[in-house]
């Protein structure tokens, strides 16, 4: 009897939550005092901005808003290298009235090379004009499927990389999105690219909770996580995602009211120790910092 009791008490030491797909981050992931990350000796730099945008239900309004934000950031920081917008930023994240019709109506095809459809073409022109990288989220039509996609535009206005969301949540499914395949050979689901010599992985919102994707990224090791989200959660003291990958994180989100959902406008850039370098919550704005990598 005693042996059985001892075995039962010690058994939790032998398990590690198995290989369940979803990582449920704990309060320990965001606990502690902010650490000081000394990047003074870093050799690579990237001037980055995370945009927190309040979205209209109308796609044209959002494209105009995105263009204005890009112009504003470039005017404030002429040295900017990368601007990141949130997930499915061409419209509301979720329209409860008719989620599928709405998301399919916003989506476009994203060919690998020009000519591009409306949204990519307009933002690509801005990237080209200002000679910067721009990342944003949008619905992508391909092969009769709808994907929740993040596009990285290069400074010449071409598509440098695309990432399709792997880990859908119920509102994605209600919107008619199809998940990307979990395949390390597929650059659309495991998307790692170089920006000015900095190794960056692209993630969309709940992708960060995907055990397969997290493991693949950690096995390769990256310097930067480019994370577009639609999250209503309030601000964190410690960034769990940076600590998950021990990499810089750009957390680009949205703000304002969309139907029943109020987005707090939590948007930030954190260093590999999980310390928020620039960020907060509130109205439409951008957060800027210099990512320095050893």
């Amino acid at each position: 009897m005693k042996r059985i009791l001892v075995f039962l008490l010690l058994f939790p030491l032998m398990v590690s939550c198995g290989s369940k797909d979803t990582i449920i981050q704990s309060l320990y992931d965001i606990s502690g005092a902010p650490l000081v990350y000394d990047d003074s000796g870093a050799t690579k730099t990237l001037h980055v901005a995370a945009v927190c945008m309040c979205c209209s239900k109308d796609k044209a309004d959002n494209l105009t808003n995105m263009e204005a934000m890009i112009d504003l950031i470039v005017a404030d920081h002429s040295e900017i290298d990368l601007i990141v917008f949130g997930e499915t930023i061409l419209g509301w994240y979720y329209d409860p009235a008719d989620p599928q019709v709405y998301q399919w109506g916003l989506a476009e095809q994203i060919p690998d090379s020009p000519p591009y459809d409306t949204a990519v073409a307009r933002i690509a022109t801005k990237a080209d004009t200002h000679n910067i990288h721009v990342v944003f989220g949008m619905g992508e039509l391909d092969g009769g499927q709808l994907y929740n996609t993040q596009v990285l535009l290069a400074p010449d206005g071409t598509v440098q990389a695309k990432h399709r969301k792997v880990h859908l949540i119920d509102t994605d499914e209600a919107g008619g999105f199809t998940p990307a395949l979990r395949s390390a050979a597929d650059a659309l689901s495991l998307t790692i690219t170089d920006i000015n010599g900095i190794h960056a992985a692209m993630l969309i919102c709940a992708d960060v909770s995907d055990y397969w994707l997290a493991t693949e990224i950690n096995e390769r090791g990256v310097d930067l996580i480019i994370h577009s989200l639609a999250s209503f959660e309030p601000a964190f003291t410690i960034d769990a995602v940076s600590r998950q990958f021990n990499a810089w994180e750009i957390f680009a989100n949205r703000c304002g009211q969309e139907a029943d959902t109020d987005y707090a406008g939590n948007c930030y850039i954190a260093d590999p120790a999980g310390t928020v370098r620039a960020g907060g919550e509130g109205a439409q704005r951008y957060e800027y910092t210099i990512v320095r990598v050893y």
Partner: protein
């Protein structure tokens, strides 16, 4: 400063003073065990608050040498999720102002949040206050308490980092400014 030193010496003297009914207690927090397994998402998120943020295997050892004071140490080891393993030890003193059941406690815990994939440790130490009630049922006991941390010192094995220190009433002050946790310990007295 003098007053603080005298208080510590006085507490130490009280705690170690001879007592004919000195008691050793060994217990465990049963709610912490299931947290190392795969639970429904919301259980995985919120049950830890009711488990004193302890995960997995855990043991507490208490020693009461007189009716007013008891020493206690706790150890908990378990995975918080697929990527992180948590080790924590607590040590502190419980003061029983009225009888042997109601008490207040001052503890310090040290925890190591270990990212198994990047092999980076995040160490933290935090003092916390507790209020509790212990039910004695013969040799068996059930100890229930509320804990509230108030400060934290953190450091890491990650290269290029230096320690940080700050007030700490909640891990997520943007969501809940003050977050006490609940701990239930069951065990035996010897």
């Amino acid at each position: 400063m003098k007053r603080a030193v005298i208080t510590v010496i006085a507490l130490f003297t009280l705690a170690t003073a001879g007592y004919p009914d000195a008691t050793l207690r060994v217990g465990t927090n049963p709610l912490a065990y299931p947290l190392s397994f795969q639970l429904a998402d919301n259980l995985q998120r919120y049950v830890p608050i009711a488990a004193g943020l302890e995960y997995g295997f855990n043991v507490s050892v208490g020693y009461q040498r007189n009716p007013r004071l008891a020493w206690e140490a706790r150890l908990a080891l378990g995975s918080v999720h697929q990527l992180a393993f948590l080790s924590q030890i607590h040590g502190g003193l419980c003061w029983f102002p009225f009888d042997r059941n109601v008490y207040g406690g001052l503890f310090c815990k040290v925890w190591d949040f270990y990212n198994k994939q990047t092999e980076v440790h995040f160490f933290n130490t935090a003092p916390y206050l507790s209020v509790g009630y212990r039910f004695d049922i013969g040799r068996f006991y059930i100890d229930t308490r509320l804990n509230q941390t108030f400060a934290v010192l953190s450091w890491s094995s990650l290269e290029h980092t230096r320690p940080g220190i700050g007030w700490f009433l909640s891990p997520w002050p943007g969501f809940i400014p003050i977050l006490p946790t609940f701990t239930c310990t069951v065990g035996w007295s010897f």
